[in-house]
Structure formats: C-alpha cells, structure tokens
Amino acid sequence: MTSGLSFNQVKFRWGKQSDTFGPITGRIAQGSFVGLIGPNGAGKSTLLRLSAAYLKPTAGEISLFDRPIAQMTPSQRARLVSVVPQSLSTNFDLTVEEVVELGRLSHLNLRQRFAPVTLAHRQAVSQAMEATGVVAFSRRPFSALSGGEAQRVLLAMALAQNTPLLLLDEPTAHLDPGHARHFLELVQELVYRQHKTVLMAYHDLATVGLYCDALWLMHQGQVLMTGNPETVLSSPLISQVYETGFVHLSHPRSHKPMLLFP
C-alpha cells in the first residue's frame, strides 16, 4: 500500500538552539485520517511544516506518495499537499472567491497566469466552494467573515488546490461546536469518498477519537506512540505528557474513545 506521507529518520533544529526535534520515522497510509495529538510545544506544527516543506529537515527524508519532497519544485509539491492553517488574516479585501481561486495557483500555466478562466479551473473552484458551503458568501470580502466562515473558505482553498494529501493545523480551534462538527464531518467525507489522506493536529481529546482512524502522540519533538484511537487514548502515556488525569469513556452511540477532564 502506498504511503501518503512518510518520514525517514527526520530531524530538525531551530537555528543554534539545543531543542532538537526527532528523529522521526513513520508512515501514513494513503486514504487514512490521522490525528496528531500532544501538548503545546510538542512539535505538532513543526511536523506539519516539515511535511509541507515550509521547514527543511536538518537530517533524514520526507516523502509524499513515495517521492522525496526535497526533490520537488514548489508547484509539484503544491499539487500533492495543501495546508489549512488555524487562521489567516489579510489587510487587503480579497473576496471569498478570490481566496479560493488562489488554491489553483500551482495548476496555472504561463498563459493562465493572465486569465485563469478555463473550464477546469472554474469547476475546481466552484466544486470546492459548493462542498464547503461558501457559495452563499462568495462575493463578500474574506476579511469580513466570521471565524467559522473563514475556516470553511480556507478548506475550500485547499480543496481547489485538489491535492491527495491535506495537512490541517488545529482547524477548528476558533469554531463553535456546530461549525466544528460540520468541518470535521466534511473532512471525514473527503477521506472516505475521495480517498484523500489527512494529517490533522488537534487538541480536543474528547473529539479527535471520534473522527480519526489513527492517532500520533507527540511530546518534546518525538512521536511517542502511534496506533488506533482506542490504543493511543487508553495509554498511560497520555496522562504523563499532558500532566493531568482523564476520564476514559466510549461514545454512547459509536463506541469510539473519548477523554474527558476528571
């Protein structure tokens, strides 16, 4: 089975600081929805940024779909992996549609840079907007949206980018429970219907086990444990790294694991 994303002895270090990251070795199978958990400063965002080649590892190799990311051009890479950040702001009044269209950048040839109006681009943009339910406010300025609306637009931009791998960094951190649920179900649907591979950093241990197929637990720049949500969430390592106890429950309907405050 192909890996969507794989790490081979990946190390990273910020400048001359002694805090080291890694070595990390592991793979995420194509078509799986993996949650990345761990306390603040564990290295979740660093792992995502390394996976999108925004940071370059000091040692080791990262591959997207079995091709080393270091050998890709920016547009080759951007056609394989997209990133949904926790939030994004701009001083300029781009409309929602213009932001979503930016997701197409790596698909434009020189002529389309002046007029990206081909059918394929139009379709990719409108499908992405429909899937995320942002069509209704497509002409509004992006900077005037609420947190929940903005987050759906950022997902729409990633969908317009049309990559087989998506990296999400705390995508529901600013969303209310209703919007958070819709967002996570949308991502789950992308994995099941379109066979996308997703790696999502997430804080809420009551929710993450309900949606993800597997979890990676990080602490101090290391991946301590990987496995299905039942195994990882029931490990004693969880209480150690978060420095708090949890109540273990399984969801009354789906019987999936949830951790709550004691």
Partner: protein, 332 residues
C-alpha cells in the same frame, strides 16, 4: 460591480492618459492651437511648432508618464510584498540611497552631470543593503526588511545631510532634486530608463498570482505553490530598478507610489493581474497632469512636481482612509 469592469476601466483610463498627454503638450511659452497640436502629434512636420512639440514638450510628458507608471507599479509590488497597504516604493531605503547618490555626484563630480545615474546606483544599492541585512540565515522576514530598510534609510540620510552641510553651495540643487521635478528632458536621456521601466513592468506582470498569494502571508503563499524566496527576490529587484529609473529621471516624487495603487484597488479589486496595468496607466496619467500643473501653475509659474503630487495626493489619501473607516464602522 467594481470587479467586472476591468475592460471598461482599461478603456476609460487609457482615454484619460491620451487626453492628459495632449493637454501636457498643449501648454507652453509658445501658444500652439489644440487642433495643430493634435495634427502634429499624428503627423510630425519640419515646422518650428513640430520641433517644439516633438523635441521639447513630448520628452518631458513621456518622462512624466513613465515615472508615474513606474512608481505606481513599484508601489503596488512593495505593498504586496510587505502585506502593508501603506508601503511605498521608497520604503526599504531607495529614497535615502538615491539622495546620497545624488549628493555624492553633485559634491564630487559637479561637472559631469552624474546626479541621475549616481542616484540610480544609490537607490538600488540601498535596497540591496537592506535586503542583505534582513536576510539572516534562511528565510527573509518582511517585517525585518522594513526595519532594516528604515535603519539603512536613517543612516544614509544622516550621511547625506552631513555632506550637504559641508558643501552648502549645492544645497538648493539637492533640495530641488529631493522634492522631485522633471527638467531638461531629451529623448537621449529618456530612452534607457524608459526601456528599463517598460521591460521591468512587463516582467513583473506574470507574477500577479504570486503577489495575490503574498496577500495571505508568506507561509500560505508557500503552501499554495509560490517559490516564496525566489519570487520575493525577483520582485524586490524589479521594483527597485523601476523606482531607481524613476528617480533617475525625476528625483524623489512622493505619494504617486502610495496613492495610485490604492485608488486603482478601489476600481478593480486587489487582484494584481488587473491592478498592475491599471495602476501603470493611472499613475502615468496622474503624473502627466501633476507635471503640467507644476510647470504652468496659475499665477506662480513653475513649481516642483513633487509639491503638486503631495498637495493632490495627501488630502485624497486622507479622504480614502476616512471613507474606508466609515465603511468598516458601518459594517460594510
């Protein structure tokens, strides 16, 4: 509604530009009737009026148009790179570098007429220095670039002021140059910077989608496939060459590079594919009009064009900000 009218705005602004050029060559010490001006523009003759228009007035008007266009494009590029709507072409040290270059040329080689070329070199060198300082290891931070440019600007200005005080006889020349003005323009002086401005502007245009992406921040631009550092370097280089070419022709003309991209964004939206060509034409029109007004100011005679752009641009910019604030407070 404002986003659909690109072709319309292109047509309207081009008409304005043509009209402003005709007005620009119409005025002068020798009165030439409008119809004759138009006829000569389309069919140059050997008459004295034709020489006045083609050899004296038109080079000056063309220079004003090119300077205005170059500053508007350069301003739009800096605003996108720095993600700051208040950035202008001079923000990362270009003006101070140009100023020092002009002072050095005036002080040490006054006979050679090297003020323009020396200002050109000073301008590009100052931006290069700011870039070099801001670029630590790895990725360049745009905030660091602004701060480095600010520091470089202060240091170079201080050196310039010091030299000016040592050589007080040059004060008025340098002062006139720092306010900006287009004097004694000839085709011979114009063609090299003109080529640089036209080619530079055309080279920037294909990077419109990348500039749109920069509006979302450098990290997101990376994620959607922009070769962030290479594109930033190229755009900064191209914008500083445009600015330096403008400075070479006219000294330091303020406000065009700041205000014109703003006004055009209101017409066409922030997409650079539309913004850049419209900004070039609008900047050209604005400066041709300002220069004509400066050259033949009613009741006074000749004023520096930089003074006119500041007079026109400053209050208009305040008006825009005020309108924008009211819109924001009123919830759109």
């Amino acid at each position: 509604m404002r986003r659909v009218g690109f072709a319309t705005w292109l047509g309207v602004l081009t008409l304005f530009l043509v009209a402003s050029i005709i007005i620009g060559v119409l005025y002068g010490p020798t009165p030439i009737p409008l119809m004759q001006v138009v006829a000569i523009l389309f069919h140059p003759t050997a008459s004295i009026n034709s020489v006045i228009i083609w050899q004296i007035r038109l080079p000056r008007v063309a220079a004003a148009a090119l300077v205005g266009g170059a500053l508007a494009i350069s301003g739009a590029v800096m605003q996108a790179l720095l993600k700051n709507p208040l950035a202008d072409p001079y923000i990362v040290g270009a003006s101070a570098g140009a100023g020092l270059g002009a002072i050095l040329a005036q002080d040490f080689f006054p006979a050679l007429g090297l003020v323009g070329p020396s200002a050109f070199i000073g301008s590009v060198a100052a931006v290069g220095l700011s870039y070099g300082l801001a670029r630590g290891k790895g990725r360049i931070q745009m905030l660091t670039l602004i701060l480095a440019g600010y520091a470089v600007g202060i240091i170079l200005s201080a050196v310039g002021t010091f030299l000016m005080l040592l050589n007080r006889e040059n004060l008025s020349t340098i002062f006139a140059w720092e306010i900006g003005g287009i004097h004694g323009m000839t085709w011979g002086r114009l063609w090299v910077p003109a080529l640089l401005i036209l080619l530079g502007s055309m080279a920037i245009w294909p990077f419109s989608p990348d500039m749109n992406a920069f509006l979302l921040g450098d990290e997101q631009a990376h994620h959607i496939g922009v070769a962030v550092e290479r594109v930033q370097f190229f755009l900064l280089l191209a914008a500083s060459l445009l600015t330096a070419a403008a400075v070479y022709l006219s000294g330091l003309i303020g406000f065009v590079g700041l205000v014109v991209p703003h006004v055009v964004r209101r017409l066409s939206g922030p997409q650079h594919r539309r913004l850049l060509p419209l900004a070039f034409i609008a900047g050209a029109t604005f400066l041709v009009i300002a220069d004509t007004l400066a050259e033949h100011f009613p009741g006074i005679g000749t004023l520096p064009v930089g003074l006119i752009t500041a007079f026109l641009g400053g209050p208009y910019f305040l008006y825009l900000l005020n309108r924008q604030n009211r819109r924001a407070v009123g919830g759109m």
